[in-house]
């Protein structure tokens, strides 16, 4: 079996074994066992819903420590578009980008700048491939992984264009090699992430054999440091901020579609809403749509579990930043992007494969009989979906039972029924008195009967 890397991790000490996360998980990837949540690795898509819902903060996104910077001679920071929404309006992008240099980076390559180039690549791909509709954005790694698990039939509609993070990492390294004459292996590209899914995308990419991203730092941790360092720039390297509003806008829901700006576009955010729209695509109902922007977090990347600013506040900030420079249009050089496109820079190197984790058994005939057993089991369960058994719903418990990893008596109501039957039997037995002590048994004679 494939070993999956996951950024979403459980703190066993903090977990109280409640049922909040199991009910929220879009791929039914969590069970409660022995009083603690257990994540089923092959099903988890690192969307971060459990991180948000956990009242005990027992779930978190694992990112790389700052010490990872020491592994490289030359370090480039790759701030995500959502990073731009984390600061007060009086802090211009140039200030917080300069502060990144204070933090130990040698250069900054703006992911929003790469996002502009990716927008052009997507436009081009849409024009060149009118046969598949709608094409679905590959930018949100949680959505792509959700499709691997729940919508495998739609994977050939995922646009095979690399994400802005990946393109930024590649271009940042090329720039360092070109301008500094450095050995590529000595250049470290560090993405500043708002979410767990991007960590997983960098450690275990699905559209590529390996990522150009060498490390992923938590946006909340970086913001904390940057806020302390604002205004203390000594290493001023001249303007670092060159991305325009179109690229920055990618950090909020709908921004990617604004950047694409051609054809019939649909944007959806929040993983449970994304599932609803993907179901429509699966039924063949959205053929009139050219491109689908789909983001797992409500509000887009600014709603990521590692973003510090309230997503609604961040959205206003992003909107203002975008509008200021949207009028300037794209900041990237279209001719240069066209050259890179022809060179295959934006193209994913491999097809995204399905993860057939819903399958009950590899043998179809056996799986069919298991489905029949599952339906019978579901009919016997109370249908309350209480979660006390540790599975998210009665149907999932039935699935776990036929898979052989749970028992019917895991259901507290079934257990109670069994106890009741047992208690009744015990009572009946207790009432039985031996005939010698006065009870009339079936073999009793005629003695005592009135003649």
């Amino acid at each position: 079996m494939i070993q999956y890397f996951h950024s979403v991790k459980l703190d066993r000490e903090a977990c109280k074994g409640c049922t909040n996360c199991i009910k929220r998980c879009p791929t039914e990837a969590i069970r409660v066992r022995e009083g603690k949540a257990v994540i089923l690795e092959e099903r988890c898509v690192d969307c971060g819903e459990c991180i948000r819902i956990c009242p005990n903060h027992a779930k978190s996104a694992i990112t790389d420590p700052f010490q990872r910077l020491e592994d490289f001679e030359y370090r480039v920071a790759l701030p995500a578009p959502s990073f731009y929404g984390q600061f007060k309006p009086d802090v211009p992008p140039e200030s917080f980008l300069q502060a990144l240099l204070e933090l130990g980076f040698d250069d900054v390559y703006e992911v929003p700048y790469a996002a502009e180039a990716v927008s052009l690549a997507i436009r081009r791909y849409l024009t060149e491939h009118p046969e598949r509709r709608p094409l679905i954005s590959s930018a949100c790694p949680a959505v792509v992984r959700l499709m691997q698990v729940r919508f495998p039939a739609l994977l050939d509609q995922v646009i095979p264009v690399e994400s802005p993070m990946e393109v930024a990492a590649h271009l940042a390294k090329e720039k360092a090699v070109r301008e500094r004459g450095l050995d590529r292996a000595k250049v470290g590209a560090f993405f500043i992430t708002p979410c767990a899914a991007k960590v997983t995308a960098a450690k275990q990419p699905v559209g590529n054999n390996e990522s150009n991203v060498d490390g992923v730092l938590s946006m909340s941790a970086v913001c904390g440091e940057v806020l302390k360092l604002l205004g203390s720039s000594r290493r001023n390297r001249g303007p670092l901020s060159k991305a325009g509003g179109i690229g920055i806008g990618w950090g909020r829901a709908g921004g990617e579609n604004v950047a694409i700006g051609q054809g019939s576009l649909l944007a959806v955010d929040g993983i449970h809403s994304v599932i609803g729209v993907l179901e429509e695509v699966e039924k063949g109902k959205l053929r009139g749509v050219d491109y689908l922007e789909a983001q797992a977090c409500i509000g887009g990347c600014i709603g990521g579990p590692l973003a510090i600013e309230n997503p609604f506040v961040a959205r206003v900030r992003m909107k203002n930043l975008s509008e200021i420079s949207e009028k300037q249009g794209l900041q990237v050089d279209a001719a240069e992007v066209a050259r890179l496109y022809a060179g295959g820079l934006f193209t994913m190197k491999k097809q995204v494969e399905p993860r057939p984790v819903m399958q009950l058994d590899r043998d179809v005939a056996r799986a069919i009989s298991m489905v029949e057993a599952l339906e019978k089991t579901v009919a016997e369960l109370p249908g309350l979906d209480c979660g006390s058994c540790g599975s998210p719903s009665c149907r999932t418990l039935a699935e776990d039972i036929v898979r052989g990893v749970a028992f019917e008596t895991d259901c507290v109501f079934k257990l109670r029924d069994r106890v009741q039957v047992l208690a009744q039997e015990v009572l009946e037995l207790a009432r039985k008195v031996p005939p010698a002590m006065g009870q009339k048994g079936p073999g009793a004679g005629r003695e005592g009967q009135d003649g």
């Binding site: 039939a153 039924k283 399958q359 179809v364 339906e375």
Partner: protein, 135 residues
Amino acid sequence: MAQPVKGLDFSAAGEAAGRVKKTLQQIGVQPSVVRRVAIVTYEVEMNIVIHARQGTLRTAIAPGRVEVVAEDEGPGIADIEQAMEEGFSTAPDQIREMGFGAGMGLPNIRRCSDELSIVSTIGRGVRMRSVISGW
């Protein structure tokens, strides 16, 4: 697998087809086939919801073959050939306003089926049988 479908119940519309899809995924049917079955079951379920009083959606799954049988009690289809034409619809205006009844249901079902038969008695109802095979 037999599931009842209620006419004009738009809040539950699509749920029966959704359960069929989940079952096929659990069986491990290949994604492209699951999608074809999903379209057939969804469209026929919607036909029952839009046009009939009630009906039943039955799915029989064997290795390499899925059979979908939908039976309803409703007005029936007057001209099946005509109903197969893209864009032909008898759905009332209020249903079209909800975004349904575009006249693509039966053409989509035909496109996704390997075998298809539709039998109708006017005033009684429709029986549709679709087979998706060869996987």
